[in-house]
Amino acid sequence: MAGKKKLNKMRRREAKIGYAFISVWLVGLVFLFLRPLGMAFYYAFQEMSITTEGMTYKFIGLENFIYKFRDDIYFFDSTVWPGLSKFVIEVPICVIFSLFIAIVLNQKFKGRTFARALFFLPVIITSGIAIQVLRSYGLDTSMETENTYLFASNGVANILSSAGLPMAVVDVFTQISNRIFDIVWMSGIQIILYLSGLQGIPAAEYEAAQIEGATAWECFWKITWVRISPITLVVVVYSLIDSFTNVSNVMIKFIYEEYSLRGNLGGSSALGLSYCLVAFLIIIVVYAVTAKHVFYVNEA
């Protein structure tokens, strides 16, 4: 009985110290994160205008959520859908590409350090503000815009379609090859994550597999792919978040401009929040589906 009491006391002490360590963050979370988030919810239902005496609010119900869909019938097709569906193409390509590059960069060859430094370069120029400014001026000619590609490959499309492949398949290929610039520039962090994961796989497993006569192909699927699956989960979630919140996302751009150019604070908040909610739901679904296939060594 006395022992149990002591244990309880220790538990309480531990909890107290734990709370003490996170207390600073907790205050910040409530006042500097949850409160602005709550305010954004409040704004979403108001018509706001800035006057000389400060803000004026007028409750208008769900108007902020629907006005754009009602006024602009192409809004969903032109902005919401591209913003939300970007990940369907981007994330799988990004995952496959970064894993492939990480495996290549993990091999021993001359100039590896240089190659690694090269592929991580996008990590330090992440904001896109530099790239965005360059794009608006065109890197090559002054005519480049968001929708033209830096490395457009019409040749690939021609070869594939003349080889008799259906247009849909050709489209997928050209989509990928046209976006090679974006894909490479998106994958910096993912490559780092995968590379760190690859180095955590014990070499003994490969040796054992080789002695048993496994081919490189089998080694990849039976060892690398299984061992790396927890990292894949992190990479998938990171790529999803990046795809949804990147400045180059049309929806994010619209949300920002709705406030900064057109001064519609309520509309910006409402569309932003509902977009965020949908994105969050997608992330949860993808996470749940991926997490099912993840293999943890310690729990096996």
Partner: protein
């Protein structure tokens, strides 16, 4: 695992068929082919990555008159520093560089301390609601800044010191804004969130530190406890020195991300303390709207290329010297899902 290999080796001893000379040669050939493919792949993708940089370098030192000269593609016929000089003026380079460095370095330092503390709390202590609270850490990463920067702006414009101003307002019957402080156009608008662990991408740093502290053996702490160390001194004396590489990684990422931040810096620094990212965009927009330069496209391009070069050059230099830490730090923090 080693035992298993040894056993297997023994079991196979003498049974492994001798690989024929021809097969060996084929294997070697395959290696060569792969090496060539690998080189081509890395070279090609490296070109894609470096292309903007090469383009900038080529155009920056080229007199703008040669931009439309079809006989000049990469290598300029003569060199000039006019573009750089103009860009230095447009960016107000030295003052904005100082602004960027002060902001990035101070915020990085603050974030290291606060995020390490929070990460340690989450990694080593059991307390009620720990998991839900950690989910909130993840939530701070997921919610894009574009959603909350507006309310944040209002909050920092009339900063009420966590509600104290409002209470004072209630007591005295005046509007709370009389007791509030304007933090916009001061660095406090970045320092305060950093100080309370909700600064720029603080969530990611808390996550990194938590993983890192989890991987440090518990025995170290227990030994310290037996020797009479309190929780705080265990953290400062034992845990922090063992998390050196994570600290460096967080420092570098924080610096680089503050360097690149545009939405928040643009909002919180409308006039003063503007960092390079904001001045870069302002310079470009300024040229487009200025009557004197509006129609002079080559001039605009020259200044833009030079400005972008000046903007990324400092981080590029930092990166060249520290690039291995970007990987090693992530490795040692051992992200395991």
């Amino acid at each position: 695992m080693e035992n298993v290999i040894a056993d297997r080796k023994k079991a196979w001893a003498g049974k492994i068929p001798k690989v024929s000379f021809k097969k060996k040669k084929l294997y070697k050939l395959g290696n060569y082919v792969w090496a060539v493919c690998r080189f081509l792949l890395i070279f090609g993708l490296g070109f894609v990555i470096l292309y903007p940089l090469l383009q900038i370098l080529s155009k920056v030192f080229m007199p703008t008159i040669q931009y439309q000269d079809l006989s000049v593609i990469w290598i300029p016929k003569s060199l000039t520093f006019d573009n750089i000089k103009n860009a230095l003026d447009y960016l107000k380079f030295w003052s904005s560089l100082a602004n960027t460095l002060i902001l990035g370095l101070s915020c990085a330092a603050i974030q290291i301390i606060v995020c390490a503390m929070t990460g340690y709390g989450f990694a080593r202590f059991r307390f009620p609601l720990r998991e839900p609270l950690f989910l909130l850490v993840i939530l701070t990463i997921i919610v894009p800044t574009q959603i909350i920067f507006l309310p944040s702006f209002v909050q920092y414009r009339f900063f009420d010191f966590f509600g104290i101003s409002r209470i004072l307002g209630l007591i005295t019957g005046k509007n709370y804004t009389e007791f509030a402080t304007n933090l916009i156009d001061t660095r406090w608008s970045f320092w305060i969130p950093s100080l309370f662990g909700v600064g720029l991408r603080s969530g990611i740093f808390i996550y990194l530190f938590r993983q890192c502290f989890r991987n440090i053996p518990k025995e170290l702490e227990e030994a310290a406890k037996i020797d009479g160390c309190g929780s705080v001194s265990t953290f400062v004396r034992i845990m922090l020195p063992n998390a050196k590489s994570s600290i460096l990684t967080v420092f570098l990422f924080s610096l680089v991300w503050h360097w690149n931040e545009y939405t928040l810096t643009r909002t919180f620094f409308p006039q003063n303390y503007q960092p390079l990212a904001v001045r870069l965009k302002l310079a470009v927009d300024g040229m487009v709207n200025d009557i004197a330069t509006r129609t002079n496209l080559p001039f605009q391009m020259g200044v833009t290329y030079a400005s972008v070069l000046l903007f990324i050059l400092p981080v590029l230099i930092i990166y060249i010297f520290t690039q291995r830490w970007f990987v090693e730090g992530v490795e040692s923090s051992g992200i395991k899902g």
